[in-house]
Amino acid sequence: MSTKLIYFAWVRERIGKPEEDVELPSGIETVADLLRWLKSRGEEYENALQYPDVIRVAINQEHVGHREKIAGAREIALFPPMTGG
């Protein structure tokens, strides 16, 4: 099953695309696993996810922590801390 990844703000700019569909390899169970795997996919990902602790994540359009399981996620968004309001 493929998962849609969406990126915003400087995460989007550094990765160089607004979204992509990926096939997650087995063993990627949590958000932290996903970030670690993405970071290994190339220089642009390494650059965007250099400090994984600052990356905020939403699964199916709801905020989650990095220990959250990603099983069943249709849409996972990665973005910097928010600056609205």
Binding site: I6, A9, Q61, A77, F79, M82, T83, G84, G85
Partner: protein
């Protein structure tokens, strides 16, 4: 009838009219005793800024503000609630965000508006990028730790 209040939430590129939004909440009613509005505007940062550009996460922006509004409605006896957040390019002096909270007595409306803004700042999926007055593109606005602390102070004990 606090449970019956349905918040009006709009994510839009266009500007809004504060007076019209108050009238929309209070029109034809005689039970509202207090309306608190908060508007957030774009500053020019002492002339350095020509605009802010707000990126947002369509779908989640509405959903997240809806979740924050639902918490406010659970917590305070509000009679009406409107939240409008703009996106796109916004010039200094223009509106960015509006919260209108209505209640019988002022305290609920004041507190709910304050709570909503603290949560919008740290949880609504919007990101501001600066456009500088010299024509160059500035950086992304950095999130302030103070905004996270402001939201944390609303957490009830044990949360």
């Amino acid at each position: 009838m606090a449970g019956a209040v349905v918040p009006a939430i709009r994510i839009q590129r266009e500007d809004f009219d504060v007076a019209a939004e108050i009238a929309r909440l209070t029109g034809g009613r005689a039970d509202i005793g207090a309306v608190v509005t908060f508007s957030g505007l774009c500053r020019d940062e002492q002339g350095a800024l020509s605009a802010l550009e707000l990126e947002h996460y369509p779908g989640m922006a509405e959903a997240e503000i809806g979740r924050i509004a639902a918490q406010a409605l659970e917590r305070w006896p509000l009679q009406g609630l409107t939240v409008i957040h703009r996106h796109g390019k916004i010039a200094p002096g223009e509106n960015i965000v509006l919260v209108v909270a209505a209640s019988s007595h002022r305290q609920a409306a004041f507190e709910a508006a304050n709570f909503l803004m603290d949560y919008l700042k740290s949880r609504a999926p919007f990101w501001k990028r600066q456009h500088l007055a010299d024509g160059t593109q500035g950086g992304w606005v950095e999130a302030k730790e103070a905004d996270d602390h402001a939201a944390d102070r609303w957490k009830k004990q044990g949360e």
